[in-house]
């Protein structure tokens, strides 16, 4: 055990990894498109990633199909996180919408999208979150919906606050909404986080920077869309999601 880990220590690690990626790209390697499971600046990843390479198998009949969800699995109110209590939550009311597509650009229809997030003060309604920011009795912060025939999802919520965590001294997460998405194949499963444009915390956050390609990081950021904003009511953000998955799910019809 040495000195407590500082933001400067983490900044240096993030910069070193970034420099190595830039050098590889300059030498002709493609810019990374995916997250890096072994990303030491995010300390919790150290013991929680496999050291063996993944085993390639294209015999995946089960994984090329996936669970189905239907009208029994969501209620109409589930997509509006501001209506889950008797009063209105505090914070900046927003709508978040976009389309879920596969890598061929085809809409993912009728699939389940789940979200969870901190409240406007940066506190989760979870016992293990002990950040001394207020809980909001009118906000739980979980929502769900099914995509429509164009692959569209839509949520009404409040903008989450940034919050501290204990990766290192003075570690703060940029504001984000957690997303869970099912594709038509189990092999297309995605859990990720949606970020907001121009967050000043981006350079300091090891989780955001675990995606080491700049273009790939940009794909996690929603864009403000004034046409989605509603007069006297809410601000609009648009975020399209492309599900990764085996080539069988996007080169040809996948089954």
């Amino acid at each position: 055990m040495g000195d407590p880990l500082t933001q400067a220590d983490i900044d240096r690690e993030i910069a070193d990894i970034g420099a190595a990626v830039a050098k590889a790209v300059a030498a002709g390697e493609p810019e990374p498109e995916r997250v890096t499971r072994d990303y030491p600046p995010y300390r919790s990843s150290l013991l929680r990633h496999p050291r063996h390479p993944l085993i390639l198998t294209e015999e995946a009949e089960v994984e090329l199909r996936g669970p189905v969800f239907g009208v029994t699995d969501v209620t109409d109110l589930d997509r509006d996180l501001t209506l889950h209590h008797t009063g209105e939550p505090l914070g900046e009311r927003i709508t978040v919408t976009g389309r879920i597509l596969d890598r061929a650009g085809r809409p993912v229809r009728g699939q389940l999208v789940e979200v969870w997030q901190a409240n406007a003060a940066g506190r989760y309604a979870h016992q293990r979150d002990q950040h001394p920011a207020p809980l909001d009795p009118n906000f739980t912060g979980t929502g769900r919906c099914l995509t429509d025939d164009e692959g569209r999802y839509s949520f009404v919520t409040i903008k989450p606050g940034a919050y501290p965590w204990k990766n290192h001294v003075n570690a703060w997460r940029p504001a984000h909404i957690h997303f869970s998405i099912f594709g038509t194949a189990f092999a297309q499963r995605l859990v990720t986080q949606m970020y907001f444009p121009n967050d000043p915390l981006f350079p300091y956050d090891p989780i955001y920077n675990s995606v080491t390609g700049e273009a790939a990081r940009q794909r996690m950021i929603a864009r403000y869309d004034h046409d989605l904003s509603s007069p006297e009511w809410s601000l609009g953000y648009r975020w399209d999601i492309v599900l990764d998955g085996p080539s069988a799910t996007w080169m040809e019809e996948g089954r």
Partner: protein, 186 residues
Amino acid sequence: MKPTPSQTVGPFFGYALPQAGGGDLAPAGHPDAVVVHGHVYDGAGDPIPDALLEFWQADPAGSLTGKPGSMRRDHVDGSFAGRDGVRFTGFARVATDADGHWALRTLPPGAATPGRPPYISVCVFARGLLQHLYTRVYLEPGTDPLLASLDPGRRATLLATPESPGVYTHDIRLQGDGETVFLDFG
């Protein structure tokens, strides 16, 4: 199109994703129900109390059609209502306990491909894990191209261990000694 990158499920998914009874995939009282249970461990051999496992499988006849209702909601108060106790949906979701333990109560899957041993597909999420991992649980002996390609030690990480009639144990190790085989589908 370029994929949207993954990010960790984080520590606070517990009030959003799992539900009580999420691991009870077998219809209530079904005589063929089996239990598969175990722990999830990290690279130091410590149990992981904040992992989330998802299971997807064929029904006993080998059908992969699946059925809705895995996350049935109470349309009166908006809470989770649990499965309807009749239909086999093929999908289950279980968070590990404070001691890293999980349990799935299911019906043994049928063979999706005739002549190949059936398996339960598993997707692993955890705080600290930046992108989910896929693995499998095979309940019965048999071989297929994947199993045949692995050396016996690694193959064993995909095979459930019979514990008592209808009960199997199966641990998942994210790293280190006995590291579970994780899959890439190409």
